[in-house]
């Protein structure tokens, strides 16, 4: 029953997110601030993880190819496919559930604990629209983050492959260009947009509806990370079955 109640409350929150919009002059500032916090603030960690995981994928692929009949360009091909199809959209989203998700839950949760949300409601402001909608708009730029992860992942694979002595630059580039299916990019960005919506709303839900004090803010952040990750994994399975199955 508790799960059903939470799911119901979540969808009511989504509906309220689009009702009684905040004044544009105020909303604009909030959106820019959230872009800075959620998108620009995540670029460093995404770039770092993207580059090195790309390198690891290339090294692992190279080390596990022992059959001389397998073409050398497979390292580039496998790195590209892994990065574009799964690593960038899904793996980075799980990391973002930890970084951005906990930030959203704890910042909204702290506002709840310190009665700042009550202050908004007393003033007659739609607090859900004021707090959640700018995050949702800011995260529409999430595909930009994922594009960077894709680019740096493939670049990291190239660096590891060439400078680690696992293959030549020509072979790697040939692999990256080989058998490219444009729909795979569409699939990756459809997933990314869905995950962006999840990243904006589930952590906001756990922050907005939390009860208690500072300890509960920490617990809400953990719960929000767990459920955001679970929903991302489930939707990843569903979308992959629908779009590629």
């Amino acid at each position: 029953m508790k799960y059903l109640h939470n799911i119901g409350s979540y969808f009511i929150m989504i509906k309220d997110m689009f009702r009684r919009p905040t004044k544009w002059s105020v909303l604009k500032t909030l959106i820019l601030k959230d872009i800075d916090d959620l998108i620009i603030g995540s670029l460093g960690i995404v770039a770092f993880i993207g580059f090195f995981v790309g390198g690891v994928v290339a090294i692992q692929t190279s080390l596990n190819i022992s059959n001389p009949l397998i073409p050398k360009y497979l390292v580039g091909f496998a790195t590209r496919q892994s990065i574009i199809l799964e690593f960038a959209p899904t793996f980075i989203s799980i990391i973002m559930a930890g970084k951005v998700g906990s930030f959203i839950t704890s910042s909204i949760g702290t506002m709840r604990v310190t009665e700042q949300i009550d202050a908004l409601e007393v003033m007659g402001i739609n607090a859900i629209n004021y707090l959640v909608f700018p995050k949702f708009i800011a995260l529409t730029l999430y595909p930009f983050v994922i594009s960077i992860a894709m680019f740096l992942g493939i670049l990291g694979g190239l660096a590891a492959c060439v400078y680690g002595g696992y293959g030549t630059l020509e072979n790697y580039i040939e692999g990256v260009q080989n058998d490219f299916i444009p729909f795979h990019m569409a699939y990756a960005f459809i997933k990314t947009m869905v995950f962006a919506f999840i990243l904006a709303t589930i952590p906001s839900y756990y922050g907005y509806f939390m009860k208690g004090g500072a300890l509960e803010v920490g617990k809400a952040s953990t719960t929000s990370f767990v459920w955001t990750s679970v929903v991302i994994i489930l939707l990843n399975f569903l979308l992959t079955s629908l779009l590629l199955g």
Binding site: T22, V122, G124
Partner: protein, 255 residues
Amino acid sequence: MIEVKDLHKSFGDAHILKGISTTFDKGKTNLIIGQSGSGKTVFLKCLLGLFEYEQGCISYDGKVFSNLSRNEKTELRSEIGMVFQGSALFDSMTIAENVMFPLRMFTKQSKSEMEDRVDFVLKRVNLDGAHHKMPSEASGGMQKRVAIARAIVNNPKYLFCDEPNSGLDPKTAIVIDNLIQEITDEYQMTTVINSHDMNSVMEIGEKIVFLKDGHKEWEGSKDTIFRTDNEAVTGFVYSSELFKKVRRMYIEENQ
């Protein structure tokens, strides 16, 4: 004027408010007092519309709150100022931005008009020059004054304060009490203060409602509270030796 009739509120099986009826007059500082757990905060949150109640009626100058449409409620809320117990300042904004916030949300004033108004109210609460400080850089007393400035910046008709003196030293608490009373007189607002600070009761309690276990036990003013024989009230108000002595002296002087 705010009128409350037979207000009932429960949380699950716990019946918190048990039929409270009272009125809060315009231009007066109305105090709700009572022990911790007596239902003061729940009562205040029902008045503000933050909690829905099962039974009863709350009307603001004749407008029944529960009968208002969503837009009418929003309009009414823009006439309400609230000072929260912990001040509830937006910690991502400077003091000036906090005070300007209701103006940005609800008025079409130009930036210079809003800045002039912010300057005026910050001067009114003796915070001139604190515009660019963050709330975390302000002391407890300053934060309370910023909260009062934010509450009155849009010229509200109703001012609510939830324990405005909690966590303040006695001297600062008196400054805050006097400020609330001056503002109430000046703007002729209906002010409702939730408090268990006895200094506030003696200083500014033009009307006092005493709650006990979710019902109204006693109603009066700072003058009549000295003479009441209600045991629950005297047990609460004169729990300290100092106040017992003050009461004895008051009665002796008036005999």
